[in-house]
Symmetry: C5
Subunit: 354 residues, 5 copies
Amino acid sequence: MAQFLTGKYKKPGLAPGTLIHIGEIKTDQISITIMDYDQASLVERSVQFIEDTFALKETPSITWINITGIHQIDVIEKVGQHFDIHPLTLEDIVNTNQRPKMEDYDHYLYIVTKMLYFEPFKEDILSEQISIILGKNFLISFQETEMDVFSSVRERIRKSRGRIRTSGVDYLAYALMDAIVDHYFVVMGTVGERMESLEEKLLGSPETGMSQVIHEMKRQMIHLRKNIWPLREILANLMRGNSPLFRETTAVFLRDVYDHTIQVMDTIESYRDILSGMLDIYLSMMSNRMNEIMKLLTIIATIFIPITFIAGVYGMNFKFMPELEWKWGYFVSLFLMGMVAIAMLIYFRKKKWL
Amino acid sequence: MAQFLTGKYKKPGLAPGTLIHIGEIKTDQISITIMDYDQASLVERSVQFIEDTFALKETPSITWINITGIHQIDVIEKVGQHFDIHPLTLEDIVNTNQRPKMEDYDHYLYIVTKMLYFEPFKEDILSEQISIILGKNFLISFQETEMDVFSSVRERIRKSRGRIRTSGVDYLAYALMDAIVDHYFVVMGTVGERMESLEEKLLGSPETGMSQVIHEMKRQMIHLRKNIWPLREILANLMRGNSPLFRETTAVFLRDVYDHTIQVMDTIESYRDILSGMLDIYLSMMSNRMNEIMKLLTIIATIFIPITFIAGVYGMNFKFMPELEWKWGYFVSLFLMGMVAIAMLIYFRKKKWL
Amino acid sequence: MAQFLTGKYKKPGLAPGTLIHIGEIKTDQISITIMDYDQASLVERSVQFIEDTFALKETPSITWINITGIHQIDVIEKVGQHFDIHPLTLEDIVNTNQRPKMEDYDHYLYIVTKMLYFEPFKEDILSEQISIILGKNFLISFQETEMDVFSSVRERIRKSRGRIRTSGVDYLAYALMDAIVDHYFVVMGTVGERMESLEEKLLGSPETGMSQVIHEMKRQMIHLRKNIWPLREILANLMRGNSPLFRETTAVFLRDVYDHTIQVMDTIESYRDILSGMLDIYLSMMSNRMNEIMKLLTIIATIFIPITFIAGVYGMNFKFMPELEWKWGYFVSLFLMGMVAIAMLIYFRKKKWL
Amino acid sequence: MAQFLTGKYKKPGLAPGTLIHIGEIKTDQISITIMDYDQASLVERSVQFIEDTFALKETPSITWINITGIHQIDVIEKVGQHFDIHPLTLEDIVNTNQRPKMEDYDHYLYIVTKMLYFEPFKEDILSEQISIILGKNFLISFQETEMDVFSSVRERIRKSRGRIRTSGVDYLAYALMDAIVDHYFVVMGTVGERMESLEEKLLGSPETGMSQVIHEMKRQMIHLRKNIWPLREILANLMRGNSPLFRETTAVFLRDVYDHTIQVMDTIESYRDILSGMLDIYLSMMSNRMNEIMKLLTIIATIFIPITFIAGVYGMNFKFMPELEWKWGYFVSLFLMGMVAIAMLIYFRKKKWL
Amino acid sequence: MAQFLTGKYKKPGLAPGTLIHIGEIKTDQISITIMDYDQASLVERSVQFIEDTFALKETPSITWINITGIHQIDVIEKVGQHFDIHPLTLEDIVNTNQRPKMEDYDHYLYIVTKMLYFEPFKEDILSEQISIILGKNFLISFQETEMDVFSSVRERIRKSRGRIRTSGVDYLAYALMDAIVDHYFVVMGTVGERMESLEEKLLGSPETGMSQVIHEMKRQMIHLRKNIWPLREILANLMRGNSPLFRETTAVFLRDVYDHTIQVMDTIESYRDILSGMLDIYLSMMSNRMNEIMKLLTIIATIFIPITFIAGVYGMNFKFMPELEWKWGYFVSLFLMGMVAIAMLIYFRKKKWL
């Protein structure tokens, strides 16, 4: 339940636009990398100080500044001043409890999305906030961890694969979002695998703890849904072409990411339905087991209680009990008990309990 | 759960438009058939190389190219180049995890639908992706398997039955979609039959495994819904007449398919409701059985426990127990036990347990 | 589950507009009746051949042709040719699996509705498809059975009651739909009566089979909902005045039927809620009964098990058991047993189990 | 379930506009009261014949005619003729099964609402249909019972309190609706009180019948919802200013009633949620009790069954049983039984069952 | 359930606009504070009489009058007269059962929101109604308690932090709403903490009372939702810029509060889902425990019942029972009993019950 904990929300009572990092610090050191490219040339390097990137703002080439680590407030502030970012945007960048959203500040677009990772040891799904600022010919991305989801995009820029070097900065923004959504499929795949192995176990021999695992997974689905659903709306908004920063030629690609997002959402919904079904199966298996236990008890008890009674009767110490004197009394009583038991067994067989 | 497995999703990190076949390969060999017709003439043949079809693009007659098997990337690529298909469309054709959708690329419409088959051995519903590219006077359809759902359309073209030979290529597209939706009814019919026989069994003698079968069928309904629902929207879109490729005279036919799709969706919803009801019936029958078991146990136990106690009392070895000396003691005690048992039976009768 | 059976759906693979009767044949003979009227005159007669009605198409008076029995394809075809009906409409008329819908073909309106009957022997709700074709000054209605729901309308025309003779053909169409919706109230009334008597029984002495009856009724509600709900939309459409065939003066009457339809839908929803509540009550009564059974077993067992043990102790055959030699041993032991039993009873009283 | 009974619906087969009183007759005698007022003067009187009111129609002062009792069809008909009311409106007035609705007939507005009363003896919520006809300078209201909800409005007119005497007839209509909605709060309050006392009882000592009471109250909520929900829409419609009969200065007051209606709806929804929660609590308390019963049985049985067995063993009559000859055999066996019992108790203590 | 009690609703039958304080009186004394500021100067003081504030209405500086305690009707009335507030607004201010809403009266905006507090002793969430009247250059806020949520805003005005002194009165209104929404996060945090500790307890050792605590928390979620949800709509309305009192420069800040509100709503929904899940876990743990109890009983009973029967047989007093005479009879019978017990144990082990 880590993600719903206290102390992670905005501190109340501060003036809006006050920069305070909220959330876990997931990386020690801030690292800043730059890719500055056009169709012909590419400059890629790591810088130590954010000020080293400022010169690139004015160049006509496309500049992608990627900042990993958002807990150093002063860096974010300097970026804000130089690139003319609204204080509320800065506040949102350093507060990792945002919902995915898009905000249009005329001279730039601010997009917040969530990167999702499956953490194999805790068997939990972790999320990382990724903020993208898309300006006229620059793009700044903010990540929380060094688990770089953008490496494939970087590779494509380096090798000039696809149309990335020949398209504008909006295509770069698309490529980044596409990389994020692509990674959702990886997470869904892992979740699917877990569900499958859980279902196999469930149908094999249901154990007491399973209902908790299923609930845990249902909760993960809620978590996924909450982080992915708003992305749909963001993409729909961009596709409608409201922002001049996104050109029409990029719209067809946005439609593609949009489709993928819908597909992920569909899968999440299916998974929720399947998990609910698994819970029902678990419960009905548990109740079947209960039935079985009760049946055994009932069969044993109803067979032995009457014959034990017969034995009890002939264990009475009355002076005058004629049967006791008979030579075959004992054997007749045993035979009687046997008959009762067999009658019971036939009854159970008829009831299909045996 | 095959359709929700891992490894079937888009490989992350590739440039958009990279062609990679995703999904099971369901046919060995690619097969290509052509029907080129107008009101007067019809040419039908199978070709080995996709290049043999290219000449037909320019002819005024209607050309229908049907390609079975989508795992040979080079064939798809050649089609893409010659017919000027957007790389994203090609990517979607070879990725069999699409949702049904329609995309308008001005000079052609791209429609993805799902063909559904009931597989009698696995008792599962399989789906096959069918892509349709509708151009100015040509139509290319892509199927995954050789289980040809379009044979009836072919027959109608050959025999010039109905208006198919006299109408345009948009009517052909309609005819194909109609054939697909018609087949949904066949699947629904089979599912309905299975549900009926399951219900009969359920009301006869519910068995432990039935809840799993019902859950399995509920899951199939989710699967069906997911694959059919988006088709509704596609058809509504086409009917609205947004695309110049669909003429107004065809709209009235689209309304017909649309109605059928709604009918299928209605049936799916009804089936889901009925399956939920069947689960409830199963559970209440199971709990009735439990009640019955408990009742039997209780009746037997409450009758015999008191009289066994009486027998136990007279089995005690006290020196001085006056009743033991009586001549009729034994018979009085038996009579007493009988009375207790009868009192109990009357009580149960009054409670309507017997 | 009759209405969800297989084989009742459209045969796949036929050209659209192919006439095939789908559904049960509910009447032996086709019967055709004509009412041709204006304010002053009325001609009413039965004809044997559909051709006898064709002359009336051109007369300025209002012509109502009612055809009972839709399985004779040639009759439907002749109607289609003479009155210029689209093949898809004809196909829908003879396929009794339509959803209620309205289709505007400019020169005529095609309206499909469902008549509902409560069948007292099977205790089931049956539906009959009624198609109405509304032309400029003629109206053709198609019924499946001879159970004539329109007799009251006929009577009103004959006796010139209300405004029916002085209004146009659109008012006739309204009157027919009104008669159908009015009959829904009758069905709802019967269902309400059944629910009431079921509830009384349920609160009196719940029996095992009741949950199935409740489920059966819930399913009937689903069936009703499916057949009535689309009518709402049809009427809303007509009220909006999109069709020139419906005049504005009739709109106020349509609003009236619309209101009634909403009322029926409201009642269906209420009934569903009530049935769900009845199921819950049934389940909680069953579980109460289980509790009662368990309580009885527990009370009997916990009283007798300890005292049976005491009797067992003094039934042991040890040589040296001092109590056995006491004169009052027997009576003391009986007293002891009584004490234990009374203590138990007090305990149960305190727990409010008795 | 009285309100869902049969025979209370519109009689099928009658011409629309036929006046037939449908519903219970809740008052013996029709009573007619008139208030005719303007800012300066007020005339208030009871009349015996409806004809006595007709002269007031033409006066410029505001005329409020209140008719209690709607089963005398001739009175309603005369009102209809004189005030030019559409037959469908009259039909609706005398049919007490209307949903709340508003209909605009240009020269008058017809508003149907439901007055709700809590009947303390049956512990049920009764509804009464109140129809309001709002004309240019007159208002006719129809009530079913003499339980007069409008007395506070009358008082305000008499004492010229607030703006009622200085405002138009639309303000009077608002005041009447306001009085009705105000009374809903009273009903909700009573329901709230009942729920509270029920909850206290439930948490104290849940009884078997409680689930039925809760279901009964849930059903009342459904009933309330059905009767109040449409009012929201009516008020929203009036506020939108579509009718010239409602002036803009009254809109701000309508917004106030609208808010109150929303508040009542909110409360109903909350009550439903709370009742569902109470049902869950009831069920879980019942299952806890079951657990307790089973635990007691199990504890008693598992303690005594083994030691009864030991007693049984030494009650056997074998010739050669060495323990029987020992002097301390009896005491050792008692000690053994004690040990077993204590071991069991320790086990239960460890399991936290004791 | 305090918030759903009777007697707290509007008194029926009063003229609209009649001022009656409805709700608990939460503070003894009314206290009035004024902050009158512009960019350069700030006057802050407490006044005893509301008349002391009236002069400030005309000054060009921004005037914020905060009134704590709304039960003194005369104060509210004077405010209403001087600042020209509509009687319905005044009525709403003193009735603490409002839903959050916004009403535009052209020359002022009336905004009602709910402040929420977590009360640690009752472990309940309390709400306080906060009304804001936003005029051209003045703002009047009404609070119920002295628990001042606006202290941080006051501090910011005093220290001239952020843009509050340089922005208009609409920014002040925003700041107040922001402070309220910020406090929601604090409440959510506390609730989250409680849920976490509850879940830990639940997974450790579920107790009988827990289901009630969970239900109580679910009910609190309903309460929260009801009080926060309408705020979303208010903010969306303000953002749309319908009111000239809110300038466009403030809109970007409103979007920020709007986002926070959505976030709170999301969290509430998540919490509800989690609580439902916890209930399910509780129930399945309870049923597991039941299973365990039944299993123990069954194991003990099925082992001892058969062997007790054997002992009973050899306790019979028949004259002729050969086994009794054998020397090893006793030991053989003990051995037999042991065998039966071991066979049962093996059976249970195979069934995985042990």
